[in-house]
Symmetry: C2
Subunit: 672 residues, 2 copies
C-alpha cells in the first residue's frame, strides 16, 4: 500500500476518520452523556467502513479476482462440504463435511494439537456440550448473547433486523424512481448500520415503513438469544443450552486442572469441540453457521507476572498490526515486530504477544496467505467489558475481512463470575516474599453434628465444605443462618450449629489470588474456508481448470496413484505403491477410472492432492520406475518404484523440497 | 470353563434354558398368540440370566477381584474424567474428560482411524448434530426410541420404571419381616425384569403398591422419548433433536458418497462424533451417559454379493462366539474360527464376518482383555425388525457383560425409509449380464411452463426434479394432481401440466437397487472404560500401589522424565531428553516435583505411563547415560542419553519389545 496515487485517494478518508476519532476521545474525556458518545462512535465506525472499503478496492492483493461461484461449485462437486439434510429440504446454516472436508479438518486439528498442545505441554480437556442454565447465566450468555430480530405479524416468520434493513434499503436504492437524495440517505444508513443501536435501527425501520419479505407488518425489534435451548432429564424442569463456546467448561474445571498441574501457575488448558449458535438467518456459507468446531486455549497466569519464557522465539516476527489507535486515526495497519509492539505497550503483555506470534505462525503454516492476514485490536468501545486487551486475527476473503481467531486477555472475569455464582474457591496461591499477619476466616466443621444430620454422607459433606470459600460460608450464615451446600444435584443445609466460624489474626506465608486468563480462540470452520479461498486458483492458459494449492499438511490426500490405463500388468505396481504409502501412513487415493491421465490429474488438482504417481509402460521394464508429478509446477520426474513412498513422505512433512527432488531425479516430459 | 465340577453345577441350568428355548420355538412354529410367545420369551430370558450369573460366579477369570471404588478413586484423583459442572452441583450422566481421559480418547480414535478408515480406504464424513424431526421420524427414533418411566404425582419427579421396581424389590427383600415366599417372589421378578413388557411391569408396580422415592403415589408408566429436543431458528416452529446416533447423517448423504466413489459399490463411510441420549436416570458411570462419542461405519454393498476380498485375512481368528442358538439352548459361548462360522452360516455373510474379525483385532490392540470379550448374536426376538443378523462385541466388567460395539447387517431398511420419506433416489446401479426389455417411467419436464412459474429458480427446479424417483412423481401426480418438490426450506408445486409422465417399454442394460448396509458401531466411552477396568491392577506385595497397565498405543504419555533430585546439574539432561521426545512427537511428562523417585514412579504408574527415564548422578559422567524403567515389570536398564528417545519411540509403536531392550542394554538395579 505504498503506491502514492492510492494514498492520495485515501488521504481525505483517513483524515475524516481521524477527526471523528478526536471528537470521540474528547467526548469521553469531557464525560459527555452516553448517548452522545454512542452517536460519535457510530459516526466513527461509518467513516472507518468507507475508508476500509476504498482500501480494499484499491489494494493490489488480487482478492477481487476470486470467482466465488466457481470455488463453491468445486467444493460441492468434490464433496468438501454441502448443505445438511438436503434430501429433506435442508436447514440454513448447517453443513455436512464430506471426505475431503473431513480430512482437511482432521489435518488442521492434528496440526493444531501438535503446534499448541504438544509443543507447549498444555492440558487437554473435553467438557459436556449440554450446559445447565446457571453456568451460562454466570458467564453472561443468558442475558447478553442476543441478536435483534423482528417478526412478521401475520406469518410469525422472523428476520434478523440488520439483514432486513440492508435488503430493504438496497431495494429502495435500486428503484428507478428513487431521487438522488433518497439514494444518498440509504447509502449513508447502510454504512452506519453495523454500529447502530436498537433505537436507531427501529427508527430506520419505521421511517421507511419496512415490511417483512412476505409484505406484512413487522413487530418492534426484540432481542433473540442465540443459544439452542433444551431440557435435561425427563421432568422438563432442568433448563439447558447447547454451549455457544467451549471456554466455560474449562473455567468450571479450573480447580481440577490446577491440582493436576501440582498447584502451579502458569499453565494452559485446551479444548477442541463443537459449539452451537441458533442464528436468526444464517448466510455466507461456512462463515456463519449454526454448528461449528472451536479450538480454545485458556492460559491461566499470575496477573502480576504476564511475562512468557518463550517470547524471545517470536519477538522478531513482523506482523501486520491494526491497532485501536490506528483505527481511531484513520491510519492503515502497519507491519511491526512483535517485540517492538510489546515494548511499546501496544500489545499489553508478553504472554498475549507470544500467542499472537504463535497464531500467526500457525495460520501461515496451514495455508493462510500472509498478505491477507492482519491482527486487529478491539477498540475500547467494542471490547467486552471484562477484556483488558483483545486482538483478532482477521483474514481477507471475498466476504471482506473475517475474524478467524480471537486472542484476548480476559483478566479474572470468568473465574470471578463462577466463583460468585457457586461459592467455589477458584484461586491459586502465591508465596509471599515475607510472611505477614492477616485476619483469616476459618470454618471448622463440627463433625459429630454433621454426621448425625447427614449420616452416610458425612464424608462427602466434609470434603465439599473444604472446597468452599470460607468468607462465603461466613457471610451466608450471618445473613441467613445457614449455608446451602450443592453437591451432585443435592443440597445440604449447613446450619450455624454445624460449623464454628472463627476470625483470627494469623501469620501467613502465601496469599490467594484469582488468576488472569489469556484466551486464544480459533474458529476452525472459518479458517478452513479461508484456506480454501486463499489457495483456489485457475490454471494459466486454461480457464476451465480450477485447482486447490493446499499445503501438504492440510491436503486430504498427499498422493494419488494412477495407472496409465487399465492394462492388468500395471496393477501389481499400483498395489505395491499403494501398500508402501499405507505402511508409511500416508493418506492416498488410487484412481483407476477410465479417463485420460490429463483428466485424472485435473481431478487430483481439484482435490488439492499435492503429488501424483503414474505407472506407465516404462514401469514394466527393469529397473522399475514411475513418474512423480508436482501439483503446483505440474512438472514431473522419474524415480525408482521402491523410493517413491519415502520421497512422498519427506515431501509431505517438509523435510524435502520439490526443487531438491528435481535436482536428484531426471525430469520426465509429458503433455498434459 | 472346562472344569468338570463347574459344568456339574451349570448342567441343570443349561437344561432349563434349553427346555424353555424349545417351548418358545414350538410356540412360534405353531403360530401361537403373540402374548403367549412374549411370555415364553420372558421366561427364557429369566432362565438365561440365572445361568449367566452362575457362570460368572464360577468363572476363573478373576473379574470379581476388581475393587471398583479404588479404580474410581484413581480416575478422579488423576483427572481421567469426572462429573461435569460439579461446582454447580452437577448433572447426572455428564462427564468431563481431563487431560488423561482426553489423551486416551484421542489415542483410541487415532488408532481407530488408522485401523479402519486408512487401511480400508473408507470415506470420512461429519454430519450435523442438530437434526430436524422428519429425518428422525423416518428412521423410527421419534416413535420408538423410548424408555418407560413413572412420575411422582406430587413432586413431578420422574423415575425410570425398571430402576424403581428394582430398588423397591431390593428393599422388600432386605426387610427382616419379609417371608421366604415374598423374598423368592422378589428374586423371581428381579430375574425377569429385563424381559418384561409394559403391562407386566405395571402389574408389579401396583401389586407391591410402589411409591416414588419421596413416598408419594406414582402415575401409570409412560413412554419417554430419549432424544434431547430443541427448536431450530427463531420462530420455534422447526422442531429438532440432538442426534441419538451418527448413522442417519450418513444415510441421508448416500447419493453424494456414491458419486464421490464414482458410482461404484461396495464402499464404506465412517463418522466419528458426539451423540446424545436424554436418559431418565443415568447410572453406572461412563457406561450410561447423556453425551457420548460414537464411531460408526456404514458399509454399502450389493445385497446379492456380500463377499469380502479380505475375508481370508481374518478367517483363522479364533473368537468366542455366543450364538442365538447357544443362548436358546443354554449352551456356553464357544471359541470358533471365523472362517468356520461363516461357512456354517452361523454368521450370515463374509462382510459381516470380516468386520467381526476386525473389531476383535482392534479391541485386543487397544487393551481389551481377550478372555473377557465375546461376540453375542441377537436372538430373533431382540433383533431390530430391520436387521438380518446382528452381533454385539461384549466385554466383561464389574457391571457384568457390557455391549461395546454392535455389528449389524441392517439390510436396505434405512435407505428405503429415507427414500420413502423424501422421494429421493437412494439407489445404486448394477450392470445386467444381458440387456432386457422393461416398462420404464420417464418424467419429462416442460421447461417453458416451469420457467414461467418459477422464473429465476428454473435451473434449480429442473436439477432437483432429476433427482427424484420418477415413480414417486408419477404416483403423486396421479393421486393429488401435483408433486411438492422440497428444496432448501422451500416447496415448489409441480403440477401435472409442468411435466409429461411417460410409461414405455425400453431396453435396459442396468438395474437399480437399494444397497444393503453392514454397520459396525462403536461406543468409544464404553470401550475406554473397559480398557481402564481390564488394565487396573495392584502391585503384588504392596496393596496401596494401584496402577494402569495401559498399552502404549492408548497410554496418555508414553514416557515420564524424572531428575533424581532438584540438583541444577540434572536439568540440561532433562531438557535435552524432553526436547528429543518432542521432536519425535512422543507425548511425555517431566516430573520435577520433590517426592522420592519411588513416589514419582507410583504417580506415573497411576497415569498408565509405560516408560520412565531417570536422570541421576551417573548421567553427569561421560559417556552420559540414563535409566529406563518398564512399568509392567518395574525392571530398569541403563542406556546412552542420545539413544533413549529412539528406543522409546520403537517401544511405543511395537517395533521393539522390552525383552529386546533388556537383552541389548545392561540391567540397572535400584530399590523402589
Amino acid at each position: 500500500m505504498t503506491d502514492p496515487s492510492i494514498e492520495e485517494t485515501l488521504g481525505p478518508l483517513r483524515l475524516a476518520v481521524m477527526e471523528q476519532g478526536d471528537i470521540v476521545r474528547q467526548l469521553k474525556e469531557s464525560g459527555a452523556p452516553d448517548s452522545d458518545v454512542k452517536k460519535g462512535v457510530s459516526e466513527l465506525r461509518a467513516r472507518k467502513k468507507i475508508l476500509e472499503d476504498k482500501e480494499l478496492e484499491l489494494a493490489p492483493i488480487g482478492f477481487e479476482l476470486l470467482d466465488r461461484n466457481r470455488l463453491e461449485d468445486l467444493l460441492k462437486r468434490r464433496f468438501f462440504y454441502d448443505q445438511s439434510f438436503e434430501i429433506y429440504g435442508g436447514i440454513a446454516g448447517q453443513f455436512d463435511f464430506g471426505p475431503m472436508g473431513c480430512d482437511m479438518e482432521d489435518n488442521l486439528l492434528d496440526a493444531w494439537r501438535k503446534f499448541f498442545i504438544l509443543k507447549e505441554k498444555m492440558h487437554k480437556i473435553k467438557c459436556a456440550v449440554v450446559t445447565p442454565e446457571p453456568v451460562l447465566r454466570a458467564s453472561g450468555h443468558v442475558d447478553r448473547f442476543t441478536d435483534l430480530m423482528v417478526k412478521d405479524v401475520k406469518t410469525g416468520e422472523c428476520f434478523r433486523l440488520d439483514h432486513l434493513i440492508k435488503d430493504e434499503l438496497e431495494k429502495v436504492k435500486a428503484d428507478k424512481s428513487a431521487t438522488a437524495q433518497v439514494k444518498a440517505e440509504c447509502e449513508n444508513i447502510l454504512t452506519r448500520l453495523d454500529g447502530m443501536t436498537k433505537e436507531e435501527m427501529t427508527a430506520v425501520l419505521r421511517q421507511f415503513n419496512m415490511m417483512s419479505r412476505n409484505g406484512n407488518d413487522v413487530t418492534d425489534p426484540v432481542e433473540f438469544n442465540l443459544m439452542f435451548h433444551t431440557s435435561i432429564g425427563p421432568t422438563g424442569q432442568i433448563r439447558g443450552y447447547l454451549r455457544p463456546e467451549t471456554a466455560q467448561g474449562i473455567f468450571v474445571n479450573f480447580s481440577r486442572l490446577l491440582e493436576f498441574n501440582n498447584g502451579r501457575l502458569p499453565f494452559a488448558a485446551a479444548q477442541i469441540g463443537p459449539a452451537f449458535r441458533n442464528e436468526i438467518s444464517p448466510r455466507s456459507g461456512l462463515l456463519r453457521v449454526r454448528e461449528f468446531t472451536m479450538a480454545e486455549i485458556e492460559h491461566f497466569c499470575d496477573p502480576n507476572d504476564k511475562s512468557h519464557p518463550k517470547f524471545n522465539s517470536v519477538k522478531d516476527l513482523e506482523i501486520l498490526l491494526y491497532s485501536a489507535c490506528a483505527q481511531m486515526e484513520g491510519k492503515p495497519s502497519k507491519l511491526m515486530k512483535l517485540g517492538d509492539a510489546v515494548t511499546q505497550k501496544l500489545i499489553d503483555n508478553e504472554t498475549l504477544g507470544y500467542f499472537i506470534g504463535r497464531i500467526y505462525q500457525f495460520l501461515i503454516m496451514v495455508g493462510v496467505n500472509g498478505k491477507k492476514l492482519r491482527f486487529r485490536q478491539h477498540m475500547s468501545n467494542e471490547m467486552a467489558h471484562y477484556a483488558r486487551d483483545c486482538w483478532d486475527a482477521e483474514c481477507l476473503t471475498s466476504f471482506g475481512w473475517v475474524e478467524c481467531v480471537g486472542c484476548a486477555d480476559r483478566s479474572a472475569f470468568d473465574l470471578t463470575q463462577h466463583s460468585k455464582a457457586t461459592g467455589a474457591k477458584l484461586k491459586a496461591e502465591r508465596k509471599l516474599s515475607e510472611a505477614r499477619i492477616e485476619e483469616v476466616v476459618d470454618v471448622l466443621p463440627r463433625k459429630a453434628l454433621i454426621a448425625k444430620q447427614f449420616k452416610a454422607e458425612v464424608k462427602i459433606v466434609l470434603e465439599e465444605i473444604e472446597k468452599v470459600d470460607s468468607n462465603i460460608i461466613e457471610s451466608s450464615i450471618k445473613q441467613e443462618g445457614k449455608f446451602d451446600l450443592q453437591v451432585n444435584d443435592k443440597s445440604y443445609s449447613i446450619t450455624s450449629e454445624m460449623v464454628e466460624v472463627r476470625r483470627q489474626m494469623k501469620k501467613v506465608h502465601v496469599e490467594n489470588f484469582v488468576p488472569s486468563v489469556i484466551e486464544p480462540s480459533f474458529g476452525i470452520g472459518r479458517i478452513l474456508y479461508v484456506i480454501l479461498e486463499h489457495n483456489f486458483g485457475v490454471r494459466e492458459g486454461d480457464e476451465k481448470r480450477t485447482f486447490l494449492k493446499l499445503p501438504p499438511i492440510v491436503a486430504p490426500y498427499k498422493c494419488c496413484v494412477l495407472p496409465l490405463s487399465n492394462k492388468p500388468d500395471f496393477m501389481p505396481f499400483v498395489k505395491q505403491i499403494s501398500q508402501d504409502l499405507e505402511d508409511q501412513e500416508i493418506p492416498s487415493e488410487v484412481n483407476t477410472s477410465s479417463g485420460s491421465v490429463g483428466r485424472r490429474y485435473a481431478r487430483t488438482d481439484e482435490l488439492g492432492v499435492p503429488f501424483a504417481v503414474t505407472v506407465d509402460f516404462d514401469t514394466l521394464k527393469e529397473p522399475h520406475s514411475v513418474t512423480l508429478r508436482d501439483r503446483d509446477s505440474m512438472l514431473q520426474v522419474r524415480l525408482p518404484v521402491n523410493e517413491v513412498a519415502a520421497v512422498i513422505k519427506s515431501l509431505s512433512c517438509g523435510k524435502l523440497s520439490w526443487s531438491e527432488v528435481r535436482a536428484k531425479y531426471p525430469a520426465f516430459i509429458q503433455q498434459e
